[in-house]
Symmetry: C2
Subunit: 317 residues, 2 copies
């Protein structure tokens, strides 16, 4: 136990180490492991703090020797990582940027295993904090030639288009309606905090893969029920958490248009236990909630990388 | 946010600051606050780590400005404390000794408000890690003249008796049966990890107050059902957690001898909303599970004290 280095990693140190490839690799690994039942996860819970809530969520992955949890209050995100072989606390890791990258990567993994192989265009609705990594992740797993973005404020979507065009080396075009962002696209991403659906049934085209990444509260809806009904397959990161937090699926269940029993875990698709699509015309939908085992997988790697590179503050016993 | 000092407090630093009086005060406060509904608590959860489990539990107390959680793996206990007024992370606190003291203090608070005022004798069954603070807490709230201790290994109970006699200035006597530890005692404490009851119905005497402090798993039992049935009042720290973890009450419910509806929250007794005893002959029972709001109350004070005294490692952003 005394040989274990306990590290404190700041947001800046994490940002220095973390890129999308690392997150995609970590998530691919953990989804595969989860399909064997060897990764345990507890859904996010929330407790009132007066001004907002404290969120906390936990996971363990004994094969890798990691147990940990993420919590956040007032926009301060932290992961606490323990070793499962008697080491005790391994690290406390600033997890704001980490969460943004891993949420992108989760949509990347879903796109990799669910979208048509020849997908070459992406429409994205939303241009906020989480939108950049969503787009980056999709572009990392498919050879994307065309990107359209819509969000309500023209200035913001244009800023997003120019920033991302430069970063990705792809022409990202800002468009003036959500319909225009969806039309003719192979992949469609919603990453908003909307309570009114931004993807409606009439926007869905044959063969489309949809990532719904903004919906993590029963109060929110990004897809309307008509859109959900069109999907041949609906996958999620964790069924327990989706049943608590995914407002649009709750609504579809409530009106008798969706059954929880038909919801598929993404890990089963990643591991090849379940086929994502029967044909190129199938519509597939990934409902991303953001779960603790994703945080654990990325933070375990960050800890190892920090040890190797000598990054971080070493904590006393 | 930049003015907030984030502290890392080691076990040694906590041990230096924490005493029973501080813990008793903190718990008295938080139980009172909880009676008004202004303290939120999430029961302990456990996730397998291969060799054992990761435990995690959370609470918020917005009036005091604190939100936090405790987790532990392989005997390494840590509390993460956040501010609820935009400060983000306040402290990471070594919580092994803290847990031992706060669990003692919870029994102290129960004894203070539930035991007969003139209680002068304590029997204690168990002489392990948690037994010292159990006895210390009871002696802090009643004028105790006589203490008897029983545990299975003669050497251990004699060591406990001599250590505690010296520390408390009271004659602590090791006895050779659990019955001898209970006979004629005003307060009876069980603090074991027993799966077979150590307090049986025949050991219960009129007017006794019992603290059952070791039972925090459905697999364990410290009291048999005959003993539970004799209690005029059964109180607990948290009803949700008790229903998940208190093996002996589950067993009594299972055989139709106890009803969850009759379980009373200790906070209601502390706040005077509920009378603990109708007469000096009543038998009262406190089922201590150990809950997150107790950790939060003590750790919030430790953080404040550490700031005042300049104790702890200041962490970067």
């Amino acid at each position: 136990m005394t040989d274990t280095k306990r590290l404190y990693l700041t947001e800046a140190e994490v940002t220095e180490m973390l890129d999308m490839d690392l997150a995609l690799e970590a998530l691919d690994d953990v989804f595969r492991a989860r399909s064997t039942g060897k990764v345990r996860n507890e859904p996010r819970r929330r407790l009132a703090t007066g001004r907002g809530v404290m969120n906390f969520m936990a996971a363990t992955w004994p094969e890798r020797g990691w147990a940990g949890h993420k919590s956040y209050v007032s926009g301060d995100f932290r992961v606490m990582l323990y070793g499962t072989n008697g080491e005790g606390l391994l690290a406390i890791i600033g997890a704001g940027r980490m969460g943004q990258v891993r949420t992108g990567a989760a949509s990347g993994i879903a796109t990799k295993y669910m979208a048509r192989r020849n997908s070459a265009s992406v429409g994205i609705i939303g241009s906020g904090y989480q939108a950049e990594t969503q787009l980056e992740a999709v572009c990392a797993v498919r050879d994307i030639k065309t990107v359209k973005v819509f969000s309500r404020t023209a200035e913001k979507r244009e800023k997003f288009a120019s920033t991302m065009s430069e970063r990705l080396g792809i022409n990202v075009v800002a468009v003036d309606s959500k319909e225009a962002a969806a039309e003719g696209m192979d992949v469609l991403v919603a990453v908003t905090s909307s309570v009114e659906p931004v993807i409606t049934g009439d926007m869905i085209e044959p063969g489309m893969h949809i990532n719904a990444a903004g919906n993590n509260s029963w109060m929110k809806r990004e897809l309307d029920t008509a859109a959900i009904v069109k999907a041949a397959l609906v996958a999620c990161d964790d069924i327990d958490q989706t049943r608590i937090e995914c407002g649009e699926l709750m609504r579809a269940v409530e009106v008798g248009q969706f059954a929880w029993e038909s919801l598929v875990r993404l890990d089963r698709i990643v591991a090849g236990l379940r086929t994502a699509r029967q044909s190129d015309d199938d519509i597939t939908l990934f409902e991303s909630q953001g779960v603790a085992f994703e945080d654990l997988a990325v933070c375990g790697r960050l800890y190892e990388m920090a040890l190797e590179r000598g990054i971080g503050t070493v904590l006393p016993e």
